[in-house]
Amino acid sequence: MMHFLLLLSRQGKLRLQKWFTPVTEREKKKVIREMTLMVLACPPRSCNFLLWRDLKIVYKRYASLYFCCGLGDQDNELLTLEVLQRYVELLDQYFGNVCELDIIFNFEKAYFILDEFLVGGEILETSKTVVGIAMEEAETLQETMEEYMSKPTY
């Protein structure tokens, strides 16, 4: 199973963090710091797999963001590269030509999309279209609520 998924900017700022195991706040900060150092130091075109503590780290750079996740020892590293690719495609599908700013200003949407794709460290849905439909319908439900809330009461 995946232990965590982090999105780091090129300047080392955290853009998204998802933890699939219980970790204390202090430990989280430590892991983030170490991942930032490790991943940002890798030269371009180097191997995307690293070893850290007892986890396998798979990272991939997309434009200005580093997607970094920690795997257990039974997990398939090559498949995880595909998982990261799929998540980027889902973000792209939702935002349309996604860039880092989209993820900064709409971070909660990025989390919602992630929750339709990965749950408990495992892949939930392998079809892009199904995830897209789920997001749309949830949005509709939310908008209906908001419209209702913002309508004047008369």
Binding site: L14, R15, L16, Q17, W19, F20, P22, V23, T24, K29, P43, R45, S46, C47, N48, F49, L50, L51, Q74, N76, E77, L78, L79, L81, E82, V83, Q85, R86, I104, F105, F107, E108, Y111, F112, D115, V119, G120, E122, I123, L124, E125, T126, S127, K128, T129, V130, A134, E137, A138, L141, Q142, M145, E146, M149, S150
Partner: protein
């Protein structure tokens, strides 16, 4: 103004802050506003305030005051508030927080909500941070959802069940029947969840594993369907149909087929089909092939299939993509023990990967190369490894050196090759070798008796070039001390001899002694070596004497002690000096004294066993106690801090010879930890010696028992002798103090 714009406005303001201090100020103001809003009654902006707080939390600021707000929002009937509330719960609460228990009831209610999106929120949160208690509480709900709901909920319930089984393994029994029936679903999401759940159940419970073995044919069919199916736009990734599901099925098959012939047979054809038909030009295909190879190697597959798998790995090894090469080497590492010959065929490519730029690839290539060393390829492979060592990244150096030493020890084709290899490593990376390298090398050198001249020449040349590598300098000093006479002789068969004078050699040793680069241990080696040379050179003994006396007032206590003792050897016990500083015998590798050096770090005490020189400490005897007269003498014989050295042939050694009185020590072995020492005193003077008493002192770990002497009068003219037996009990054979070694150096038969 729509509330969500306020969130984005806040983000914009925070990003606009030019300094860390400014940012902190903005955030403090915002947090204060948020806290105020939380205290107010429901005003429709709660979800946005919580979202703002979550953003602030992601920047690293404390946000624990939002925990109760999460609980409140989760309980709200509005979907948008629930959504943010659950997100907040996943980010701010974990099972260690007390507040997490408060949401259990909300989750329970939401699991039976009419809207599937609300249900999914609850399921997702439970699967993310559900504690063991919550899991036990809600397991029956999850079981119900696994059976009777739509596929959107079923797949989420499956992964929720996976989380529960991980937290509370006993719940596995509850979910097993539902898991079984999920395999007949058509929806890929549900199937994937089912396969993950079954994998988890089988890994934890061998009975469940037995049960699910019956499902192998079903899984095989499922997999076949995926591999052979035509293009399916919904699940296609680079020409592979749903690689995520394929990989999970292969992983489950691996677990089911392990150690089981029937199950392995049933999947043989399928695995061959996948291995042959999968297109590996893109990562997705390679991922599936990788998992296939892992499965083939782990189950009881037939040999043809294994060969196919190893060939796939060999193909991966030649791939341009670094990731694929890395994966290939990882897998080859797993099978190098069982399929050694197959992996050997790819040795050339693996060794080439040592030269790759990437650190991860280098590390894998190193591990694999070390595993491939054999008696046949040792020479060529070692050349490559030594080349690698000269350019390898610092974090790999220690591992490389120890790997090289292990390989050299096991497969060295000749002693000279072995010594050359170790010296090469010390010159290249002497700072990264383990501490026991020095005693190991010294032991090796003593055994290679024909190579002493060659070795001392090589080490002398290395020493005058560079004295910064401590391990090399220590060995060089030891060799020069021991075999300095060979060096000075100026002739050597194996290598070009050096023409050095005694002064040159002493200069070299003194440089080491005085250099601030030398560690205390190294200086100890140099001092002892200088001392040993006093019996091997002819002209400059005075120079040695003066060096030794200077160090008698050295600040370093160890050096000072040595210098004082050597001084004593020069002054009072000059007659013993030659015997004490004589050539050492071959050190037996299995002796405890040898292993003593391997036990802990490289301080002087632990390294001393390798030296095994005879150093008898005879304290300054008060002059009134030692008289020139024959009728009363007392000998104080301290055994602390000695390395007593006895050559193999004669089992007795003369330890005192003065004024006609000779004291001999003879050893007999008795038990594993005890021994008998017989002290024999003879008198070659004209008069009888009366009133003879012998005393001995030993360190705390050794117990001493002195039997009564045969008499206290030694007759004159060597006509008789007095014997006294001493029983030594040394229960702690391996100890930190050198005293232990002293017992060891008695004839090998004695211990």
């Amino acid at each position: 103004m729509s509330p969500s714009v306020r969130l984005q406005e806040m983000i914009r303001v925070i990003r606009g802050a030019r300094t860390q201090g400014e940012e902190r100020g903005v955030i403090q103001r915002e947090c204060a506003a948020i806290r105020a809003q939380f205290r107010q009654a429901d005003n429709g902006t709660r979800s946005h305030n919580l979202a703002k707080l979550l953003y602030v939390h992601m920047l690293g600021y404390p946000a624990h005051f939002g925990q109760m707000e999460c609980v409140r929002l989760i309980a709200s009937p509005r979907y948008n508030e629930k959504r943010v509330g659950y997100l907040g719960a996943m980010m701010l609460l974990d099972e260690k927080q007390d507040a997490s228990l408060l949401i259990t009831n909300s989750i329970k209610n939401d699991l039976s909500h009419s809207s599937q999106y609300v249900q999914s929120l609850a399921l997702c949160t439970l699967a993310c941070m559900g504690s063991a208690e919550m899991c036990r509480d809600l397991a029956p709900e999850i079981d119900r959802l696994l059976r009777a709901s739509n596929s959107y909920i079923k797949k989420k319930a499956a992964l929720c069940a996976v989380h529960m089984v991980r937290k509370v393994p006993e719940l596995g029994e509850l979910f097993t029947p539902a898991a079984r029936s999920l395999l007949s679903e058509k929806n890929h999401g549900v199937l994937h969840g089912a396969v993950v759940l079954i994998t988890e159940l089988c890994e934890r419970n061998p009975d469940t594993l037995e049960q699910f073995r019956k499902a192998v044919p079903e899984l095989v069919l499922m997999m076949k369907g995926l591999v052979m199916s035509g293009y399916s736009p919904e699940h296609n990734v680079a020409g592979i149909s749903d690689p995520f599901l394929q990989v999970r099925i292969l992983r489950l098959l691996r677990i089911l087929g392990r150690n089981n012939d029937t199950a392995s047979d049933a999947m043989n054809d399928l695995l061959a089909q996948v291995a042959t038909n999968t297109d590996s030009s893109k990562t997705a295909g390679s991922a599936v092939l990788y998992e296939t190879v892992l499965t083939v190697m782990d189950i009881k597959s037939e040999s043809g299939l294994r060969v196919l798998a190893v060939n796939i790995l060999g193909r991966f090894l030649l791939n341009n993509d670094r990731n694929i090469r890395y994966i290939s080497m990882t897998s080859l590492q797993k099978i190098v023990q069982t399929d050694h010959n197959a992996v050997q065929r790819h040795r050339g490519t693996i060794v080439d990967c040592l030269k790759d730029q990437d650190a991860s690839v280098k590390r894998r290539a190193l591990e694999l190369s070390l595993a491939l060393v054999s008696a046949v390829n040792i020479r060529s492979l070692m050349k490559e490894l030594l080349l690698f060592l000269s350019s390898c990244p610092p974090e790999l150096r220690a591992h490389t050196t120890s790997g090289i030493f292990n390989a050299a020890e096991r497969y060295a084709p000749s002693q000279r090759w072995h010594i050359d290899t170790i010296l090469h490593v010390l010159t290249t990376a002497g700072g990264d070798v383990r501490d026991e390298t020095v005693p190991n090398l010294i032991q090796l050198i003593t055994t290679a008796t024909e190579l002493h001249c060659y070795t001392v020449h090589k080490l002398y040349r290395a020493l005058i070039t560079d004295i910064s590598v401590q391990s090399l300098v220590q060995v060089a000093c030891w060799c020069i001390g021991e075999y300095g006479d060979l060096l000075l002789r100026g002739e050597c068969e194996e290598t070009e001899p050096v023409q050095v004078t005694e002064d040159d050699v002493l200069d070299a040793l003194e440089t080491v002694l005085q250099s601030h680069m030398s560690s205390p241990a190294t200086r100890g080696f140099a001092l002892t070596a200088t001392m040993k040379l006093s019996t091997r050179i002819t002209h400059n003994v005075d120079r040695i004497r003066s060096i030794v006396s200077i160090y008698g007032s050295c600040i370093d206590v160890e050096l000072q002690q040595r210098a004082v003792e050597y001084n004593a050897l020069f002054k009072k016990y000059d007659h013993m000096r030659a015997a004490v500083l004589e050539r050492m015998p071959v050190i037996d590798k299995s002796s405890p004294g040898h292993t003593n050096g391997e036990s802990a770090g490289g301080t002087i005490k632990e390294l001393e066993p390798a030296k095994l020189t005879q150093e008898i400490v005879l304290p300054q005897e008060p002059s009134n106690q030692v008289s020139e007269e024959n009728d009363c003498s007392k000998l104080w014989y301290f055994m602390t801090d000695i390395f007593l050295f006895v050559s193999i042939a004669p089992p007795s050694v003369t330890v005192y010879e003065k004024n006609g009185v000779t004291l001999k020590l003879q050893t007999d072995r008795q038990t594993d930890t005890g021994m008998t020492v017989t002290l024999t005193a003879t008198n070659s003077t004209d008069g009888d010696i009366t009133g003879l008493t012998l005393q001995a002192a030993v360190p705390k770990s050794v117990q001493l028992q002195m039997k009564a002497p045969s008499g206290d009068v030694i007759p004159a003219h060597g006509l008789g002798q007095v014997t006294q037996t001493v029983l030594l009990n040394n229960p702690n054979k391996v100890g930190l103090h050198s005293d232990t070694v002293q017992i060891d150096s008695f004839p090998s038969t004695a211990w």
